[in-house]
């Protein structure tokens, strides 16, 4: 390679500008929607089977009050449930990191917990915890705590041995070593897991409403499905997709605040 370059002093780095950043998803989603609309219109498929996107939007807008009323409880349950999930995930991962005994004892249980089908435990949940917030929150925590734990446990375990040695040479206790090396070292892995977990949180909440709920997007979807209103089911799916996307984006924001050093 014989490269020749002659450039004026440049202050700005070539970061894609706003339209360029937003263009790709907008273009692809627009293409998908147009294709869908055309497909539905041309095939003349019944709206109960597959409504057109225009119909979904139109009917969703017409029923925006009901959608909104049902979005709020789902949001609330998601927030509380995921907060619990984070707390449980951190506590378990930390405990497991400090004690290999606990690690061996708890990991199989945690994996097993992920195989509990809601269908099997829902009756127990209701009998034990009634119809309040609690069972739903527990379902969300159950569905989402596992990625958090795995991400943290593996993040902790991959800490540079030499970095741990440095801390030990400074006379650091296990806890100090954890705080100064293992904890920050596990953050990249944690944020990856957080993004996986939070994606399941909204679906988890909708799912949790099957355990028993007065209102919520899951209830709404079920009602509309039983009334054969596929368009409104999809409108609710759209709402939950938007919520999930927003939460996903939020994790990047949090990451930039909490761990700005993580290179992307």
């Amino acid at each position: 390679m014989t490269a020749t370059l002659e450039r004026p002093p440049a202050a700005a780095r070539p970061v894609p500008r706003r339209p360029a950043r937003w263009a790709p998803p907008v273009v692809v989603i627009a293409l998908l929607l147009v294709g869908w609309q055309l497909g539905v219109t041309l095939s003349g498929v019944a709206p109960q089977v597959l409504p057109s996107p225009l119909r979904v939007v139109e009917q969703g807008w017409a029923n925006r009050a009901a959608l909104w009323t049902n979005t709020l409880p789902t949001l609330q349950v998601t927030a509380v449930g995921f907060a619990l999930s984070l707390a449980v995930g951190w506590v378990l991962a930390t405990a497991v990191d400090f004690s290999p005994w606990l690690r061996r004892a708890l990991l199989p249980l945690m994996i097993a917990s992920q195989t509990l089908p809601i269908i099997a435990i829902a009756p127990l949940m209701i009998l034990w915890f009634g119809f309040g917030l609690l069972p739903k929150v527990l379902v969300i925590a159950l569905v989402t705590f596992f990625p958090i734990v795995v991400g943290l446990v593996e993040g902790f375990a991959r800490t540079d041995r030499e970095a741990s040695n440095l801390l030990r040479s400074m006379g650091a206790s296990r806890w100090t070593e954890f705080r100064y090396v293992r904890l920050p070292g596990a953050l990249p892995s944690f944020f990856t897991a957080l993004r996986i977990g939070i994606t399941y949180a909204v679906t988890g909440a909708i799912f949790a409403e099957y355990v028993g709920a007065q209102a919520g997007l899951g209830i709404f979807m079920n009602q509309q499905k039983n009334s054969f209103r596929t368009d409104l089911v999809l409108a609710a799916v759209g709402v939950s997709a938007v919520i999930t996307l927003a939460l996903f984006a939020l994790t990047f924001l949090v990451q930039r605040l909490v761990a700005p050093w993580i290179r992307r």
Binding site: A46, Q48, V49, N63, A65, A66, T69, N70, I118, I119, A122, P123, I126, L127, F131, E209, Y210, V211, G212, A213, Q214, I219, F220, N222, Q223, Q224, K225, N226, S227, F228, R229, L232
Partner: protein, 321 residues
Amino acid sequence: SAGSGGSGPETGQKIRVALDWTPNTNHSGLFVAQREGWFAQAGLDVEFLPYNSTSPDTLVGSGAAEFGISFQDSFTYSKGAGADITSVMAILQHWATEIAVKADRADIQSPKDLDGKTYGGFGAPYEVPKMQQVIKDAGGTGDFTSVTLGTSAYEALYAGQVDFTEPFVAWEGIEAQLRGEPLKSFRYTDFGFPDAYNVLLIGHSPWLAAHPEAARAFVQAAQRGYQLAADDPARAAQDLQDANPGAFTEPELVTRSQDMLAKDYLKDAQGRVGPQTLDRWQGFSGFLVDSGTVVDANGQPLRARPDFATWFTNDYLGQPT
């Protein structure tokens, strides 16, 4: 009598009702009684438990609800397995489900033509024995393939993925008409299969024993609700929708369904709403027990028919007017 000691029901008696599905026309009498204030007049504080995936048989059987909606088929299995429940009222007097195939299936003229075909079902233990029996009654062998699909069964039927399924004629059946997907259906009883109470109101047996007055008050208010649904389906449909704002986005489905129930399903041969007979119980539940698929609390098939008279009661119903 026990419990409340024979005086009228304590005011504010709390009663929890477990529904089997999202609110629909099978529940209309309960919502009518609520909207018309009949529960309140009886001094009852009735709460419909929120939608949940737990079977009402389990909820009522464990006392998490005082009353619930059940079906004679599922009731037979939970009662056989030892659930502490009693059927206190027949909501639908007949089978309200039928074997349905697409209307353009010239090859299927009778259930006996279903041999070798594919059934799209819901995973309940009674479906296959029932279908087999109906097919045999119609002159077939009863050999068919069964696929568990849940509520996707209807879509699968329309798309030709399965050959027959078992819809509620007053809900999915009407919806199919509204959608323009005509169905052809066969009544089980047309081929000699025993009739059954498709939808039941059930109660927690210990609670019933302890609160006979409250039980009577509740059942009679519900009965009155269903009576109104049978007499004035339009008003019942309205009450149902008013009680569940936002739940029904297809009003025509509700009114037509309510009309159909009022016409053919809510009243017995004598025009009464609610009563049950030992004959009916022995017919279908007896068939299920005989099929060997009903098991007791220890997982052993019931060997002998139980005394079905202990499974249901008409004692809480009001006298025919």
